[in-house]
Amino acid sequence: MPETLLRADDLTVRYGPVTALNGISLHVDEGEVVALVGANGAGKSTLLKTLSGLIRPAGGSITFQGKDLARTAAHDIVKSGLVHVPEGRHVFPRFTLKENLLAGAFTNDFKSAGKRAEEIIAGTPILARRAGSTAGQLSGGEQQMLVIQRALMADPRMIMLDEPSMGLSPVLADEVLELVAQLSERGMTVLLVEQNALGALDIADRVYALATGEVLFEGRSDDLRANPQFADQFLGVVSADAERRAHEEPEAATP
């Protein structure tokens, strides 16, 4: 039985009068890839920001390796081994690729990080050919590869990725998801937010489907695919089952 790395219970987040997360509970076990799917505004990014300490929850608890995170500062959460690659990539635009990677090692062995950063750049073809550039000059796909590598510089036990394939061409989006799959093969625990839900499900062990700040579905990826109601709502595909019913009762297909 794998150890539960991250556990959130009854998490509530409010932006003023708006409730963004309404009593969300989830857990991620060691070595798992867990996907969060849901429409815009469902609360996926808010959830990641709360887990990484950027947002303080109004209620509920978060533990990571048994340590309470709900009242821990963001920079200390990184030290405990949980890193967050935010939506929109957030490279340091005026820094070189190497300096960006160095920033990722801020909580780690900073002195030896320079050599390691050079090795990572040399070993990542998409970055190696841009080694002389600043991060602001990179394309979206190159930046995404850079920020994932940057997060890994902290030697985390678990990585949270927010929309890593957003705005990328299909080929690059596949490459990014392929990188996530490789990380998982090397034993990394991953919490993945993706709008490309089908792509995410291909590499995820389990999935949480969110709508308006609540978990509507929790289970194995295959179970979500097979669930006619949720497959339609969260994956944008109509299962064969649902299609048949739609023919029989047209009103059932109305969302």
């Binding site: 963001a74 490279v91 801020f106």
Partner: protein
């Protein structure tokens, strides 16, 4: 030869402006905020030096160090009280709160020392160096040397130390910095502290050159430092250095001919520079902060 003399004088006062401008620019570069308490922080730090020197008869160099430390602390308090709580507000708000803190600092100093002009102990000694026909006051040489050493040390701090790296990271993306494990609040405080230290060093050199310290000294230096930072390209540290030197030289060269219009003419020339290069001498472009 007279012109060369004026340029030398200009470099001296310009290096003071440069220090103040860099103190300004490091805060702007990191946060996109203008610290309007900067002039009063540097005045207060200079007064602390004056106070410990005259009250406790400590050596002037030690008094200066205490004044600089006081500047760091005061700037840190300004950040904690007047900036952090309103960091996410519209940028006019921290402008107003720092302006208010400046007033409070000025009033506190006034309570203790009044609003008169007090003699400041020169730490450079009097007398002149002669290089050919060129005559340079000892105070000017000390000013130039201290300013250059300070700027080199500060540049090295930013480039080669971990806290310096943290400042450069925070300056580019505060959210990402947080997610990398950079203690952002502490770093912002360090930015203000560094700005305060640079400002007080500038204030001490200014007081040393004029051999006086007075309540209102912060404002003219603030104005010049601000102008120097803008002309150089605000947020850009090399730009602030060049801006300070340009302003000093303009003042010293047009000054004797312009009489009491000296400042006005210097500022007109600065405006002319900005007309040609709106983002400042080294400002590549105006960056929008989100």
């Amino acid at each position: 030869m007279e012109f060369l003399q004026q340029v030398t004088n200009g470099l001296t006062i310009g290096s003071v402006y440069a220090l103040v401008a860099i103190g300004f620019s490091v805060v702007y570069g990191a946060l996109g905020l203008v610290n309007f308490a900067h002039g009063d922080i540097l005045m207060a730090g200079t007064f602390v030096t004056y106070g410990v020197y005259t009250s406790f008869h400590l050596p002037i160099v030690i008094s200066c160090v205490i004044g600089i430390l006081a500047g760091i602390v005061i700037a840190g308090i300004v950040e904690e009280v007047a900036v952090r709580p309103v960091l996410k507000s519209h940028l006019l708000i921290p402008m107003m709160t720092t302006l208010g803190m400046g007033l409070i600092i000025r009033n506190l100093v006034e309570l203790k020392y009044g609003s008169g002009t007090l003699p400041f102990p020169s730490f450079a000694g009097s007398g002149f160096f002669h290089i050919g026909d060129l005559q340079i006051a000892r105070a000017a040489v000390v000013t130039l040397v201290v300013a250059v050493i300070t700027l080199v040390l500060f540049a090295a701090f930013l480039k080669f130390t971990k806290p310096g790296f943290a400042i450069r990271v925070v300056a580019q993306d505060m959210t990402a910095a947080r997610l990398m494990g950079v203690p952002v609040n502490r770093t912002i405080m360090a930015v203000y502290g560094a700005g305060g230290a640079l400002g007080v060093i500038g204030g001490l050199l200014y007081a040393n050159t004029l051999e006086v310290v007075y309540l209102g000294m912060g404002f003219p230096i603030l104005l010049k430092g601000f102008a120097a930072a803008i002309v150089g390209g605000i947020g850009n540290l090399q730009g602030a250095l060049i801006g300070g030197l340009v302003l000093g030289i303009l003042e010293a060269t047009v000054g004797p001919a312009a009489g009491s219009y000296r400042d006005a003419i210097a500022f007109v020339l600065l405006i002319a520079i900005l007309l040609v290069r709106p983002a400042g001498l080294l400002g590549a472009r105006v960056q929008e902060r989100v």
